[in-house]
C-alpha cells in the first residue's frame, strides 16, 4: 500500500457522497410515490368499497321481540297474560368486588348462596359490559328489600321483563297449556328467523297449538356497536339506521266458560278423571277439564329440574290431559247409539222384547255373558233396556246388528275419529270392525272376528276405546238428533292493534242418517228416563226444573272370572271400575252436552252423573 493511497481526496469524497445522497433521494421519492399511489387507490378509487365496509363493521342488528297474544275465555276472562316481572342483573364492569357484592346480596336473601358459583362462572364467561341476570322473578317484598339497599349496590339493577302469567292457575292448565324455553326439537320445526333464542314458546295446550298466532312476528333495529359489540349511542343524524317494529301476537278467545271450568274442576276435586262440555248447536267446547291438573305458572317461572321431575313422576299424572289424550272403554254410554243402529237396520223395533235372565249365551255355546243385574231385568223392550242399562237386551241384538254396522254408526257419531279440536296430540280412540281386526293382527287365527267379540262390543267393552272429548261430542250429536258440528276450542282471535275480532267459523258436518225421527225421540226419551224416570240415575235428575237426558257407564278395569263376584271393598283402588256418564239438556232443545269420567269411581250413575247434572244446572242457570 503506497502512502498516496492514504491521502484522502476530500473533494472527491464529497462528490461521491453527494451523488449517493441524490441516488437515495431518488429512491426515496420513488418509494413515497408508491405509497401515495397506494393511498390514492385506497382512498379515492376504492373509497366506496371501504366506506361500505366501515359502515357494515359498526352496524349491528338486534331483534325486537313481539308481545305474546292474551288468551281469554268466551266471556273475556283472562286465562293467560303477560306480566311484568323484575329480575336482578349485574353489569360486571360497574362492580369493583363482584364476589363481595354477591355475598351481600345473599345475606339479604336476594340470591341463594349456592347459586354464587354458577353466577360467577356466568359473569366470567360474558362480556363485561353486558348485564348478567342473577335472579329472576322477584316478589314485592324482595323488590322492596333491594330498593331500600340499592345505594349499596352500584352495578346491580332491577330490570323489568315480561313473563307469562296464568291467573286461573290449575283451572285451565290443560286447555291453555304453558310456554317454556325453546328446545332443540322446537328449533327444528320452527321458522328460526322468527324467534330469538331467549324467547319462550308454547309447549302444550292452546299455547302450543296456536303458537304461530299468539307469537306474532319480531321486528329489528339497527344500532352502532364497537369492535367488541358494545352498543354506542349515536349523536349525529348522518347515519341511517333501519328498524321494523315487531307485530304483536293475536289475542285468542277460547270457547271455554271459565265458570263451568272452575265448577267442573272443583267437582272432580283432584280425583283422576275428566269433564268435557260441548254446546251441541255449534260444537264449541264449554268445559274441558282433566284432573288432577298442575299450575302452569310453575313453568312460566322457570321451574327447577326437581319440580319438573316431581310433576312427571306423580302417579296421578297431572301433566296428562285425560280429556283429549286419555282413552277409556265407553261402556254402556254407547247403548243409545247401538239402539239407534239396531232400529235403523231393523235388528229390533220399538216394541220387540227380549227376556233378560241375568246372562246371555251365544247359540251352541255355554259361555255366559253376564248382565250387571244378576237377577235379570225380565222381559223388556229397547226403551227399558236403555234406561235400566240392561246388557242382555244388547247381547241379544248384537249379532243381528253386527260389528261392522256398529262401527259404521259409532263412527258416524264421531267415535274412533279425531274431533280436530285445537289441541295437539288428540287420540283417535278405537272402534273395532272386522276390517280393523284383519289389518291389526298378524297371525291368521287372530285376524278372525268372533261373535263373542260382537256381544261385548254392544255394551262398549272389549277393544273399544274413546276419549272423554269424543264422548261429549257424540253426545252432542245424539242431543241434536244427528246434527253435527266441527269441534271448536277457539271462539275468536283478535288483532291487538285494531281490536278487530275474527270469529272462528262454525262448520256443520254431515248429519247422521237415522230415517225415522221417532227412533231419535224414543232413544232420547229412554235417556231422559235414566235421569228423571225409573232409570239408573233417576235420583240425580228427578227434582230438576228442566228436562235432561243421560246414560251411565261403569267400566271394568280388570276382568272378573265367570263365577267371581265383583266386590268393590276387596279390590285395590286402581283396579276399581271407571265411572262414566254422558248427558245433555234440555232434551227438547239441547244447549249443553256433557261427558264425565272418573277413574276408579265405581259407579257411573252415582258418582259421575251428579257432576254432569251440576254442570248443566250451572250452564242453564238453575
Amino acid at each position: 500500500m503506497s502512502l498516496s493511497s492514504h491521502i484522502k481526496d476530500h473533494q472527491k469524497e464529497k462528490e461521491v457522497f453527494f451523488s449517493r445522497i441524490v441516488i437515495s433521494s431518488l429512491i426515496g421519492i420513488g418509494l413515497i410515490g408508491i405509497v401515495i399511489l397506494r393511498l390514492i387507490q385506497l382512498q379515492v378509487i376504492e373509497y366506496d368499497f371501504f366506506s361500505d365496509r366501515a359502515h357494515g363493521n359498526r352496524i349491528n342488528i338486534r331483534a325486537t321481540l313481539p308481545s305474546r297474544g292474551i288468551i281469554y275465555d268466551r266471556n273475556g276472562k283472562i286465562l293467560a297474560e303477560n306480566k311484568t316481572s323484575f329480575q336482578l342483573v349485574v353489569i360486571p364492569e360497574q362492580i369493583d368486588e363482584i364476589e363481595e357484592t354477591l355475598n351481600k346480596l345473599a345475606n339479604l336473601n336476594l340470591i341463594s348462596p349456592k347459586d354464587i358459583n354458577s353466577i360467577n362462572n356466568e359473569i366470567n364467561r360474558s362480556q363485561k359490559f353486558k348485564p348478567v341476570t342473577i335472579r329472576s322473578s322477584l316478589d314485592d317484598k324482595e323488590m322492596a328489600t333491594f330498593a331500600a339497599n340499592m345505594p349499596n349496590f352500584p352495578g346491580v339493577n332491577l330490570q323489568p321483563r315480561l313473563i307469562r302469567h296464568y291467573p286461573q292457575n290449575e283451572y285451565t292448565s290443560h286447555v291453555v297449556g304453558y310456554i317454556g324455553a325453546i328446545s332443540k326439537n322446537d328449533l327444528n320445526r320452527l321458522n328460526r328467523t322468527a324467534y330469538d333464542p331467549n324467547e319462550k314458546i308454547g309447549k302444550t295446550g292452546t299455547e302450543l297449538f296456536n303458537e304461530k298466532r299468539l307469537h306474532g312476528s319480531p321486528g329489528f333495529y339497527q344500532y352502532i356497536a364497537n369492535a367488541r359489540g358494545r352498543e354506542i349511542p349515536i349523536n349525529s343524524n348522518s347515519i341511517f339506521l333501519d328498524d321494523k317494529p315487531s307485530t304483536p301476537g293475536s289475542n285468542i278467545y277460547l270457547t271455554i266458560d271459565l265458570q263451568l271450568q272452575k265448577l267442573a274442576t272443583e267437582l272432580l276435586d283432584g280425583r283422576k278423571g275428566a269433564v268435557v262440555a260441548v254446546d251441541p248447536n255449534n260444537g264449541e267446547i264449554l268445559t274441558l277439564v282433566s284432573s288432577p291438573a298442575y299450575n302452569p305458572n310453575l313453568f312460566a317461572n322457570n321451574l327447577t329440574e326437581n319440580e319438573y321431575r316431581k310433576l312427571q313422576s306423580n302417579k296421578d299424572q297431572p301433566l296428562f290431559n285425560r280429556a283429549v289424550l286419555g282413552t277409556y272403554s265407553p261402556g254402556s254410554t254407547i247403548k243409545p247409539i247401538i239402539g239407534l243402529a239396531a232400529l235403523q237396520i231393523g235388528a229390533t223395533n220399538l216394541n220387540l222384547r227380549h227376556i233378560c235372565k241375568g246372562f246371555y249365551s251365544l247359540p251352541g255355546n255355554t259361555h255366559r255373558y253376564r248382565d250387571w243385574l244378576h237377577t235379570g231385568h225380565g222381559s223388556i223392550n229397547l226403551h227399558t233396556a236403555i234406561s235400566q242399562s240392561c246388557d242382555v237386551y244388547f247381547y241379544e241384538i248384537s249379532n243381528k246388528v253386527g260389528i261392522d254396522v256398529m262401527h259404521e254408526y259409532l263412527t258416524s257419531f264421531g267415535l274412533g275419529e279425531k274431533t280436530n279440536i285445537e289441541l295437539t296430540g288428540e287420540r283417535i280412540g278405537l272402534i273395532p270392525s272386522t276390517e280393523w281386526k284383519r289389518t291389526m293382527f298378524s297371525k291368521a287365527e287372530d285376524k278372525r272376528w268372533f261373535p263373542g267379540e260382537t256381544v261385548i262390543a254392544s255394551i262398549g267393552q272389549g277393544y273399544m276405546l274413546a276419549t272423554p272429548l269424543q264422548l261429549a261430542v257424540s253426545t252432542a250429536a245424539l242431543a241434536m238428533r244427528g246434527k253435527r258440528f266441527q269441534t271448536n276450542l277457539v271462539l275468536a282471535h283478535e288483532d291487538p292493534l285494531d281490536q278487530i275480532k275474527e270469529h272462528q267459523e262454525i262448520v256443520e258436518l254431515d248429519a247422521i242418517k237415522i230415517d225415522n225421527q221417532k227412533h231419535w225421540e224414543e232413544v232420547i226419551s229412554a235417556m231422559q228416563n235414566v235421569m228423571q224416570g225409573n232409570g239408573t240415575a233417576r235420583n240425580v235428575g228427578k227434582d230438576a226444573p228442566y228436562r235432561m237426558a243421560g246414560k251411565s257407564g261403569t267400566v271394568q278395569v280388570i276382568s272378573i272370572g265367570q263365577e267371581e263376584e265383583y266386590d268393590e271393598d276387596n279390590i285395590e283402588e286402581k283396579f276399581r271400575d271407571h265411572a262414566l256418564f254422558i248427558s245433555f239438556a234440555p232434551t227438547e232443545s239441547p244447549k249443553i252436552a256433557v261427558s264425565v269420567i272418573i277413574e276408579n269411581g265405581q259407579s257411573g250413575s252415582q258418582v259421575a252423573a251428579p257432576i254432569a247434572k251440576a254442570i248443566m244446572d250451572k250452564y242453564l242457570g238453575y
Partner: protein, 375 residues
C-alpha cells in the same frame, strides 16, 4: 477608524458566539414541533380522547425535546470520540437483555437499570456512529477488508436484537449501518452482489423466523384468508384508510378508530387514524412534513464539515425515511406488519427519545459546520 471597525466586528462576533451558546437548527426545530403537535391531536382522537394518554405523551415529548437540545450542544468531535464507547456499551447492554431482560408480549426486549428501556434503541444510533467513526479516517470507498469489518460490526447487534426477538428493530439497526456504507460510496457492484446474496439469505431467514413472523408475511400476501385472525389488522386498517376518502371523516369521527375496529391505533397503526379522520389530504400533509424533515437532514449531511458528520447525518436522515416508509407501507398493506411506530406521532417513549437524540446529532453537526465556516 479601522480600529473601531475591528472592534465592532469583534463585538458582533461576540454577540454571535453568545447567541450560538444554545445551538439548534431552526427549520428542523419548526418541522419537528409541528409534527409533534399534530401528533398530539391525532393521538387524542386515536386514544378515544384519553387525557391520560395525552399527558404521558406530552411528557415524553418534553423529555425527548430536552434530550435533543442537550445532544445538539455536544460538539460533533465529542460525539465522534464517544462512538466506539457507545457501540461497546450498547453491545454489553444488549447481551444483558438476553440474560436479565424483562419479558413482555413474548419477547425479551426491556432492561431495568433504575429506568426501564430497550437497549436496542441505543443501537439505532450507535451502529451508524460506529461505522462512521470507523470510516472517517479511511480513504473512500472502503476496501473489501474494511467492508468485512463493517459487516461484522453491523451483524453482531443485528443478531443480538433478532434473538430477543425483535425483527423490526434488528432490520432497522442493520439498515442504519448499511446506510453509512452506501453513503461512503461503495461501488454499485458490491450493492448488487449484496442484493443477490439477499435471496438465499432471506430463505435462510424464513427458516429461522418464528411462526407469528411468518404469518405476518403470509397475511400480507393474502389478508382475506384469515379475516378475524392474522389478517384482521391489515383489513381493518385498509378499511379505515379507504373509508377516509379524500377529506376524511373529521377529527374524532372515524368509526373504525372510535369503535375500536382498528387495532393498535395508538401505536403502529396511527397512520390509519390520520387516513380515516383526515383523509388523503391529512395523510399527504403528514408525509410532506416527513419529507421536509428528511430533506433538511440530507441538506445538513451534504454540508457537513467532515466525513464523520456527513456519514452520520446522512444515515440518521435516511433511517428516518426507512421508519416512515416501513410504517406507512405496512398500514396500507404494502409490507408485512413489523411493529415499527410512525415516527414522532405514535404513542410510546423510547423510540421518541431515540429519534430526538438523532435530530440533536443532526443539529450538532449543523452547528459544527457553521463554526468551521466562521473560522
Amino acid at each position: 477608524m479601522v480600529n473601531m471597525k475591528i472592534k465592532t466586528q469583534e463585538i458582533s462576533l461576540d454577540i454571535n458566539n453568545n447567541f450560538n451558546l444554545i445551538k439548534y437548527d431552526g427549520p428542523l426545530m419548526i418541522l419537528i414541533s409541528i409534527t409533534c403537535l399534530l401528533g398530539i391531536f391525532i393521538l387524542y382522537s386515536a386514544s378515544n380522547e384519553s387525557l391520560d394518554v395525552l399527558n404521558r405523551q406530552i411528557f415524553r415529548i418534553f423529555i425527548a425535546f430536552t434530550a435533543m437540545m442537550l445532544v445538539s450542544q455536544i460538539p460533533t468531535e465529542v460525539l465522534r470520540k464517544l462512538s466506539p464507547w457507545g457501540y461497546i456499551g450498547g453491545i454489553i447492554l444488549l447481551s444483558m437483555v438476553l440474560w436479565l431482560g424483562e419479558f413482555g408480549q413474548g419477547a425479551q426486549r426491556w432492561l431495568n437499570l433504575g429506568i426501564r428501556f430497550q437497549p436496542s434503541e441505543i443501537m439505532k444510533l450507535s451502529v451508524p456512529m460506529m461505522i462512521a467513526w470507523y470510516l472517517h479516517e479511511k480513504r473512500l470507498p472502503p476496501t473489501g477488508k474494511e467492508l468485512i469489518v463493517i459487516m461484522v460490526l453491523v451483524i453482531i447487534p443485528g443478531l443480538l436484537i433478532a434473538r430477543q426477538p425483535d425483527l423490526g428493530t434488528s432490520l432497522l439497526v442493520i439498515a442504519a449501518g448499511l446506510m453509512v456504507v452506501f453513503l461512503s460510496g461503495i461501488p454499485f457492484r458490491y450493492i448488487f452482489s449484496l442484493i443477490i446474496l439477499c435471496i438465499p439469505s432471506s430463505l435462510l431467514l424464513w427458516k429461522f423466523m418464528k411462526d407469528y413472523q411468518r404469518q405476518r408475511v403470509l397475511t400480507l400476501i393474502n389478508p382475506d384468508t384469515d379475516p378475524l385472525g392474522a389478517g384482521y389488522n391489515i383489513i381493518q386498517s385498509k378499511i379505515a384508510m379507504g373509508s377516509g376518502g379524500i377529506f376524511g371523516k373529521g377529527w374524532t369521527n372515524g368509526s373504525q378508530v372510535q369503535l375500536e375496529f382498528l387495532p393498535e391505533k395508538n401505536t403502529d397503526f396511527i397512520f390509519a387514524v390520520v387516513g380515516e379522520e383526515f383523509g388523503l389530504l391529512g395523510v399527504l400533509t403528514i408525509l410532506t412534513l416527513y419529507i421536509l424533515i428528511i430533506g433538511r437532514g440530507l441538506y445538513i449531511a451534504s454540508n457537513a464539515s467532515d466525513l464523520y458528520g456527513r456519514l452520520l447525518a446522512g444515515s440518521i436522515s435516511l433511517t428516518f425515511f426507512v421508519y416512515v416508509f416501513v410504517n406507512t407501507a405496512m398500514v396500507i398493506g404494502l409490507m408485512p406488519i413489523v411493529g415499527i411506530p410512525l415516527p414522532l406521532i405514535s404513542y410510546g417513549g423510547t423510540s421518541m427519545v431515540t429519534l430526538m437524540i438523532g435530530f440533536g446529532m443532526l443539529m450538532s453537526i449543523n452547528s459544527n459546520r457553521k463554526l468551521v465556516a466562521k473560522k
